[in-house]
Amino acid sequence: MIKISSLTKTYRANKRAVNALNGIDLQIGAGMFGLLGPNGAGKTTLMRILAGIVNPSSGSLRVNGHNLATEAGKQAVKSMLGYLPQELGLYPDLTAAQFVDYMAILKGIDDPRARQQSVERVIELVGLSQEAGRKIKGFSGGMKRRVGIAQALVNDPKLLIVDEPTAGLDPEERIRFRNLLVRLAAERTVILSTHIVEDIGQTCRDMAVLARGQVIFRGSPAELIQSATGHVWTLTSSNSEKPNHDLTIVSMLHLAEGIQYRLVGHSTEEYPAAENVQPGLEDGYVWLMKSSGYAVDAL
């Protein structure tokens, strides 16, 4: 169980204080937890604080009872942690097996036999057994991500933190990666931080949305979808003029009769032809951001 209370993080940039996190309160239990938010929302800062790399400015954070404010607590959390950072750096001249083995040593797995078994297990789990002896510098982006998740799992962590894991992956790799995360979440807490709405919808039953360092939604993806009911429309227009009036265009589709817009907003009174439709998770996210007063960079 992770308990985060009144967590803040302030950075100093060019003699100016920047509040990356602004009073976060969260409780995260076992299973898959999704953390969604736009770029710059504070997700990576929160992930790094959870990983014991960044110190919070104030507030408290406990992971399985260990207080991350103390050095002993930090070491205890790191011992039970698997971490896949957003910007994954690897040693290009090591093979996949060597890299995971080295990370296992750094994580304190001293017994060579136990370590070898762990390395083989996680390499197989991520589907890299055939490539284990190849140098990482020859790997594709997806394969490097898999090496990243293998090193994160090598100590059989109770808490797995993955920060933007599917960024840059092709569709097939993304699906494979998401399925792997769901499998892993069966026996541990997995925190998936992403700005890709679809990744959350496909994997999580519990989630939060972060914006400008604050939690603006906490619940299930279904609840987020539900919140947008009555605020999503489709409108087909034969002219090239885009719908306006405080409506956010979520998507556009070229049809024979014109352009079909998918719109999120308070009202479509100005457009009598607009049809109210069932929202999806992306609509729910856009509606949440819009109704909470955060700008949505849509079309």
Partner: protein, 220 residues
């Protein structure tokens, strides 16, 4: 927990950084080969041991910690900061030691006399103390500024200014922090205090680097 592997420390070390000490070793060896008079060999030996080895050690140490592609993963592991610091600096120190000892063996084989630097222990102190001083300075400098380039620049500036002003420093209070004294002025009356001061500074820089490395968020 051991959390250390010499094999991986070597495998993850950027081999291109070995070109610098290897190139200077070869350069000085070639210069020695051209003129094998004992005086010339001695001058080359003390220039290499007392000035070049410390400079290269300092520059390499400036890159030792932060020039690591997997730094964030390292920080997320339960391995302690001091272990990481000693592992990286230890490797660079070992490389510099190897270079210094190999060069001494080389010039001695060519007929050099290193006794003006003192006895065998004194000869080792002539390169060892400035090397650890500039190594720890370079490392602490790069961690303080969170930039490898700054640490390397700081090392280079201190080295250059002390080399240019060595005569003036030797006559003033600067004599206690003159890194070249062991090699260039082995008979200076303040040599022992100089070596003690430089050693104390090296320990202080090392402790500073250790303390700075705990603020991991500055480096990712």
């Amino acid at each position: 927990m051991r959390q250390f592997s010499l094999r991986y420390t070597l495998l993850t070390y950027r081999l291109d950084q070995l070109y610098l000490p290897a190139a200077f070793w070869a350069l000085f060896a070639i210069i020695c080969m051209f003129r094998m008079e004992p005086d010339h060999l001695f001058d080359m030996a003390r220039a290499y041991l007392g000035a070049v080895v410390p400079l290269i050690g300092g520059i390499m140490a400036a890159y030792a910690i932060l020039d690591d592609p997997a730094l964030e993963l390292r920080f997320a592991a339960p391995a302690r900061a001091e272990r990481f610091l000693l592992e990286r600096l230890g490797l660079i120190f070992a490389i510099q030691t190897l270079c210094a000892l190999a060069f001494q063996a080389f010039v001695l084989a060519l007929g050099a006399d290193l006794s003006p630097l003192g006895n065998a222990f004194g000869v080792q102190l002539a390169w060892l103390i400035p090397t650890i001083s500039l190594m720890t300075l370079g490392c602490a400098g790069s961690l303080l500024s969170a930039q490898t380039m700054t640490g390397a620049f700081l090392t280079g500036i201190v080295w250059l200014l002390e080399l240019l002003a060595r005569g003036w420093l030797a006559r003033n209070a600067g004599q206690y922090v003159l890194v070249f004294m062991g090699a260039l002025m082995p008979d200076h009356p303040s040599l022992l205090i100089n070596q003690i001061t430089l050693s104390a500074l090296a320990i202080a820089f090392l402790l500073a680097a250790w303390a700075l490395l705990r603020y991991q968020e500055r480096y990712i």
